[in-house]
């Protein structure tokens, strides 16, 4: 958690002229961060951490363009992590009766998502659609039937459409 929070603080402070300091700290954080940190934008080895935290079972399927690691959690919600040929998690999707641990799934992008979602609240109640600096997070459903997805546009393999992330 500490790593995530500092990284998000880094993102917020970039515009305040302390770029080099935070960049240096970020490099230190990356060096110190455990390799198996699962999240959007992380590498494929990090998925094991998601599985352990969610106490789920994993099924792996591959296509020409990406590999899908599907985690079946005990409470019925299914999480899918989309891994590029380069081994990076470029998208996550969920579907089931309960919301997943989005802090775990979105990793360093979680705070950005929450902040953007709070700012978009003026539009009223209903599904969220966040698109900010290459991060896309979309939610849908109702009580006891949730779904959604998040992906990083710059990390999407060529020819993969957003609709594939489900």
């Amino acid at each position: 958690m500490r790593v995530n929070n500092l990284n998000s603080a880094h993102a917020r402070c970039m515009g305040r002229g302390s770029r080099s300091l935070w960049l240096g700290l970020a490099i230190i954080m990356i060096v110190l961060a455990p390799a198996a940190r699962a999240e959007l934008g992380g590498n494929v080895s990090s998925i094991q951490a998601d599985q352990e935290r969610m106490k789920g079972t994993v099924r792996v399927t591959s296509t020409m363009q990406f590999t899908v690691h599907e985690i079946q959690t005990p409470n019925g919600t299914v999480v899918r992590e989309f891994v590029s040929p380069a081994g990076m998690v470029f998208g996550v999707a969920w579907q089931g009766p309960w919301m997943p641990d989005l802090r775990q799934l979105l990793g360093t992008y979680f705070e950005q998502f929450v902040k953007a979602a709070q700012q978009s609240k003026g539009r009223g109640r209903g599904p969220l659609s966040i698109q900010e600096n290459g991060l896309v997070v979309e939610t849908g459903g109702h009580a006891r039937s949730f779904f959604g997805r998040a992906y990083l546009v710059p990390m999407m393999p060529p020819s993969v459409r957003a609709e594939a992330i489900q």
Binding site: M1, K55, P74, N75, G76, T77, A93, Q95, P97, W98, M99, P100, D101, L102, R103, Q104, F110, V114, A117, Q118, S120, K121, G122, R123, G124, R125, G126, P127, L128, S129, E138, T139, G140, G141, H142, A143, R144, S145, F146, F147, G148, R149, R161, A162, E163, Q166
Partner: protein, 404 residues
């Protein structure tokens, strides 16, 4: 803010008028749908901007009391939501000094906290016990949630991990949520589990530190209408049609019971039975969307994507902004095979929002990330929409179903 205050005043005023009687048994909405007049099983509702000034908010006034007493508080601007079950009220919307007894955990006697999940965020706060009065009907001594109560235990990390918080009028979009969806409780059997299958909605909070706890069905936050002594098998939302250009607000009726009185018959409405998750199937543009539903708590129509509809999303808000209004046809089919065809339009949201004072739009739509059509508030204008509760019998068979 001034606009919001005026809207709130208007909501209260119209509800006050509606509740005074003298309305004939059945008015006709401009769309031709009959709208029930005042009765003990009819609560006046208003669609408008509500206390947060948002588009397409469906609002009611709710009276909650300390159980068995005349110590009551009236909370207006409470969102009527068929997408969830249970009454939740912002602590900040209650009068100073008005305190409901908290529910004590049967596990350890500590206060019970709840992290309830909505599609756009969570509400956190203690479970309290209240008598809930809706028009002439009462649910006595039922669990409700108080949102954002100062001094209550801090929000658990597993709760904040589910999304943004909805602890204020602006982030909740209303002063509370009156959940009258298809389910009898807000969580159901999963929250009663002691195993890892428990989704972690309910907590016990001794010493301000909260841990997940199993919560039996009767202890869970209850759909208040299902707890009435009668007229407890479902609800009808009845709203008049509005113009395609928008409207500031309209009045309608929330009717309790289906086929239990002379004012709540199905009247030929088509019954679409729902699956265990509360969904039916919508087919649109040759795509089958099996997780579709009708939800008064969603303020638009949410379906497909820019790529599949050809409609761009607005800059500055998440709704569709087609250059010209688009026509669509969709077919909804229940698990019982019954189906209906719906024609609707989608207008440019920026054009709709440009009319100052208008909060209601029957052609406001946005993308949906999965195989789902979320039929929100635009669907309700000019229709009487029935929500039948799970396991309860009605003239249309047992719930859960949606009918219109």
């Amino acid at each position: 803010m001034r606009k919001h205050v005026l809207v709130a005043a208007f909501v209260f005023f119209t509800i006050a008028i509606f509740g005074c009687g003298g309305v004939s048994n059945s008015n006709s909405g401009s769309g031709g749908n009959p709208i029930a007049g005042a009765a003990n099983n009819v609560l006046g509702i208003t669609a408008g901007g509500g206390p947060a000034g948002i588009a397409n908010a469906l609002l009611a006034s709710v009276v909650i009391c300390v159980p068995g007493s005349s110590n009551c508080a009236t909370v207006d601007g409470v969102l009527v939501d068929t997408g969830s079950s249970g009454l939740r009220v912002l602590s900040s919307a209650l009068p100073a000094g008005f305190a409901l007894p908290r529910q004590a955990s049967v596990v350890n006697g500590s206060p019970v906290g709840e992290c309830f999940q909505f599609v756009d965020g969570f509400t956190w706060g203690p479970v309290a016990i209240a008598d809930v009065h809706l028009s002439g009907e009462q649910a006595g001594g039922i669990p409700v949630q108080i949102i954002g109560e100062p001094g209550f235990a801090p929000i658990p990390a597993s709760c904040t991990a589910t999304g943004p918080s909805e602890q204020t009028v602006q982030t909740l979009g209303a002063n509370g949520i009156l959940g009258v969806g298809n389910f009898l409780q807000d969580c159901g059997p999963a929250c009663a589990l002691q195993s890892a299958g428990n989704p972690g909605i309910y907590f016990t909070c001794p010493n301000s530190v909260c841990t997940v706890t199993p919560q039996s069905l009767p202890q869970q936050v209850q759909n208040p209408v299902a707890m009435f002594a009668s007229d407890n098998n479902g609800v009808i939302i009845e709203l008049p049609a509005i113009a395609a250009t928008g409207a500031p607000s309209v009045s309608g009726s929330l009717v309790f019971g289906i086929g239990t009185q002379s004012n709540n018959g199905l009247n030929g409405a088509k019954v679409l039975k729902l699956n265990g998750a509360g969904n039916f199937t919508t087919v649109i543009n040759n795509q089958s969307l099996p997780r579709s539903f009708v939800d008064s708590g969603s303020n638009g129509l949410f379906f497909l994507s820019s790529a599949t509809t050809g409609m761009p999303v607005c800059s500055g808000n998440p709704f569709y902004c087609p250059a010209a209004t688009q026509n669509f046809t969709a077919v909804n089919t229940g698990t019982n095979g019954a189906s209906t065809t719906i024609n609707f339009t989608v207008a440019n949201a920026n054009t709709l929002f440009s009319t100052s004072g208008d909060f209601l739009f029957n052609n406001l739509a946005a993308p949906n990330p999965a195989s789902s059509f979320d039929w929100g508030m635009p669907f309700f204008y000019g229709r009487n929409v029935f929500t039948a509760f799970e396991t309860r019998n009605t003239p249309g068979g047992p719930g859960p179903y949606t009918a219109y």
